[in-house]
């Protein structure tokens, strides 16, 4: 039997993602790519370059800014957009708050869950029929059944009973006016694949993904980044009375809203070290308790994306 040369797993995942991006471009009339400057969206932007260069992207980029993003990430986002020569739309939660469509219960309330309001307003404003996002099926058990082209009704709602079967690589991204498709080109990637791809493609990431010393507060076992200065100079996550600030060696696995993304302890200061760490950490502390940790870790990621997806 002849065994032919086939694609490596990274090449295959890349080829699949490019195919999905091109289906979005071919089937949808007004798509948009959600771009935060985080690692998953940086992978997608690299994939879009491979899909559409030497042409321009057939869609703009859009970031829904909670107003609580790390300065390093926002700077990185803007630099990357400039390098690519693509168009970035930024819509912020604060605009929705001014309009009165978002009302916070108290100023410190985590803002992630409100992101969807601003996103839906932006979708309506621009008439987008598809949002390309970076969610992955391995992030959380409940996501294991998510489609690559996921259908949202007029209210932006995901109805598990109303999802379209997906067979072969024949995607159905059709929608009526007002409805919306969420397209997930890296659905089949794991966190490990993402890091391996970042390493292979030598992608630059915001610095806070790598191990660094940071002032933190340990609150109920969580690591809370302390006294974080926002782009506008405001300082958030101040210690409550009685809380102590300690210096720890940490890195972020996700870089969503500051108030709900905790870093992890890590010495990994290069992409290769993170690849090794990602491969091993999931198992070294094995056992039932670890399973619970994994769930909460996954739901942390999910919370980050809840607003979007």
């Amino acid at each position: 039997m002849t065994i032919k040369k086939t694609l490596s797993h990274l090449d295959w995942l890349e080829a699949e993602a490019i195919h999905i991006l091109r289906e979005v471009a071919g089937q949808c009339s007004n798509p948009v790519l959600l771009f935060s400057g985080g690692k998953d969206s940086l992978c997608i932007v690299r994939l879009a370059e491979k899909a559409f260069r030497p042409g321009r992207f057939p869609f703009p980029l859009m970031h829904i800014d909670t107003g609580h993003n790390y300065k390093e990430v926002l700077e990185f986002r803007d630099r990357r957009v400039k390098d690519m020569g693509e168009r970035l739309i930024v819509r912020s939660l604060e605009d929705s708050m001014e309009r009165g469509t978002i009302v916070l219960k108290h100023p410190d309330e985590p803002r992630n869950k409100h992101q969807s309001v601003t996103l839906l307003e932006a979708i309506e404003e621009h008439g987008f029929d598809c949002c390309i996002g970076g969610a992955r099926r391995d992030e959380e058990k409940a996501r294991a059944k998510e489609r690559i082209m996921s259908f949202r009704d007029e209210f932006g709602q995901w109805d598990p009973k109303n999802q379209r079967p997906e067979l072969w690589n024949l995607y159905n991204a059709r929608s009526h006016k007002g409805e919306n498709i969420r397209a997930f080109p890296i659905s089949n990637w794991t966190e490990m694949d993402v890091w391996q791809y970042i390493e292979r493609e030598k992608l630059e990431l915001p610095s806070i993904y790598y191990s660094h010393e940071r002032d933190v507060i340990i609150r109920n076992g969580d690591i809370i980044p302390a006294n974080v200065e926002l782009a506008n100079g405001e300082v958030i996550n101040k210690p409550k009375s009685g809380e102590e600030i300690v210096k720890k060696q940490v890195r972020f696995r996700t870089v969503g809203d500051i108030t709900c993304t905790a870093p992890v302890y890590s010495d990994a200061d290069t992409t290769s070290k993170i690849v090794v760490e990602t491969a091993t950490t999931t198992i070294t502390e094995r056992g039932a308790t670890r399973l619970d940790d994994q769930t909460s870790e996954a739901s942390m990621e999910l919370r980050k994306k809840e607003g979007y997806f």
Partner: protein, 430 residues
């Protein structure tokens, strides 16, 4: 210092997609849970260079089915059960598992899961042997063209790891496989195991010294991945045409790139090609991924083709080698699995999506429907959810097709309901 990419466990690996089929309680979740869990152990072992030969994988305290999700709960709530996708890597391979519930009503889920799989694990409870559902799963795996079948006889611990019991099940299965034409057409392997204890999954353990074949993991590691086994016809559906003509860059001014994925076969610079359905001929001038030039492209690679001649081509066209053309048809004869709660209506117009192309379509005839349990052909006038039938469609636009047996990419299509935009059918061209 860190161990970095020199580490063999972290290199780029091959990718295998497989599916698991079994009835409720056959041990599917336990099997998947163990593969997910033990593979992480293996990866860690490789990374940390710990010898894993004598170490027993300690899973006693964990309910393995917890690693997959609570399908049970969904079942109780009567929620539609869908295909779930799960991932693991051993360092030598990445695996994507499509996990489809096995109950009769879920034919459509099984067909969905099977559509992207190159191998199917069919679980049989050693106490129960070959059942109606085993036949159904095997027929569907065959229909959807999965080339490698692993029949896993599970719960061997409950039959005292008895070889005769196992041999009898294998013989029963082969008899049936011959009946439905599965035996000659597909690669079938058998394995006795206990998903609960871990016998023959990742470790052999010592309860079944009479079994000399591969463990489940060895089978998976050796199984050919998609497109690895035979020469294929080159098929390149055009998804998107890149014409950045507004650019001030003189070199880009005439750039015309045809973007798509090599669905099958291979292509190299200089190859003579034909663009269908129009039939124009040209040669491949260049192949690119983004701005990078490559000399040839492999199956499943997403690339941009540049041709020597200026040819008007748009999304939905297909580039093929001039000496190897698919059929261009306005009628199709296909096996169709109906996916929607709304039955097929012969009076209505549907959309058929095939590769990157769409056509309006009407049913010309429903030849018969297949009872997936008895495999009997029955006369029928309508198709309901989970039905499988042989159907003729008339098309408004020509499609460039191969038979599904020959080519799973250009032989497959989906049926879309124009009014709801739902995907209502899955078709395989005869």
């Amino acid at each position: 210092m860190s161990n970095n990419m020199q580490n063999p466990a972290l290199k780029e690996t091959a990718l295998l997609r497989f599916m698991t089929c079994g009835s409720v309680d056959d041990g599917k979740s336990t099997l998947i849970g163990r593969l997910l869990f033990d593979s992480k152990t293996i990866l860690t072992d490789t990374l940390t260079n710990i010898s894993n030969t004598s170490r027993k994988r300690g899973m006693e305290t964990i309910d393995l089915s917890l690693l997959t999700d609570g399908l049970q709960a969904e079942r109780e709530q009567g929620i539609t059960i869908d295909v779930a996708y799960r991932y693991f890597t051993t360092g030598t391979r990445k695996y994507i598992i499509a996990d489809a519930p096995g109950h009769e009503q879920y034919t459509r889920n099984m067909v969905t899961a099977a559509s992207t799989a190159n191998l199917a694990i069919i679980l049989i409870d050693a106490r129960k042997g070959v059942l109606t559902q085993t036949r159904r799963h095997s027929y569907l795996a065959h229909l959807v063209g999965i080339p490698h079948i692993v029949v896993a006889v599970n719960k061997m611990d409950l039959v005292d790891y008895n070889q005769e019991a196992y041999d009898k099940i294998c013989a029963d299965y082969m008899a049936f496989a011959e009946e439905i034409g599965l035996a000659g057409a597909r690669d079938i392997q058998f394995i006795p195991m206990s998903a609960l204890n871990g016998d023959m999954l990742v470790d052999r353990l010592d309860n079944m010294p009479w079994y000399k074949g591969d463990t489940m993991l060895e089978l998976l590691e050796k199984a050919p991945v998609a497109h690895a086994e035979a020469e294929e016809d080159f098929r390149f559906p055009v998804q998107f045409v890149c014409r950045p003509h507004a650019s001030s860059d003189a070199e880009l001014h005439d750039f015309r790139g045809f973007m798509g994925r090599v669905e099958s076969g291979e292509i190299a610079v200089g190859d003579a090609v034909t663009i269908l359905p129009n039939g124009y001929e040209s040669k491949v001038k260049a192949i690119q991924i983004g701005n990078e030039q490559i000399q040839s492209a492999l199956t499943e690679q997403s690339v941009t083709l540049l041709l020597e001649d200026e040819i008007d081509t748009s999304r939905g066209d297909m580039i093929v080698k001039t000496n190897n053309l698919p059929e261009t048809v306005k009628q199709i004869d296909a096996f169709v699995c109906w996916l929607s709660e709304t039955p097929l209506s012969p009076a209505r117009t549907y959309i058929v999506r095939h590769t990157a192309r769409e056509s309006k379509a009407k049913v010309a005839e429903i030849q018969y429907k297949v009872d997936v349990n008895t495999l009997e052909e029955q006369q029928t006038n309508d198709l309901k959810m989970n039905d499988i039938a042989r159907v003729n469609f008339k098309l408004a636009q020509p499609l460039m097709v191969d038979s599904y047996k020959k080519n799973r990419a250009t032989g497959a299509f989906i049926v879309i309901d124009e009014s709801t935009n739902s995907t209502v059918g899955a078709g395989m061209i005869v």
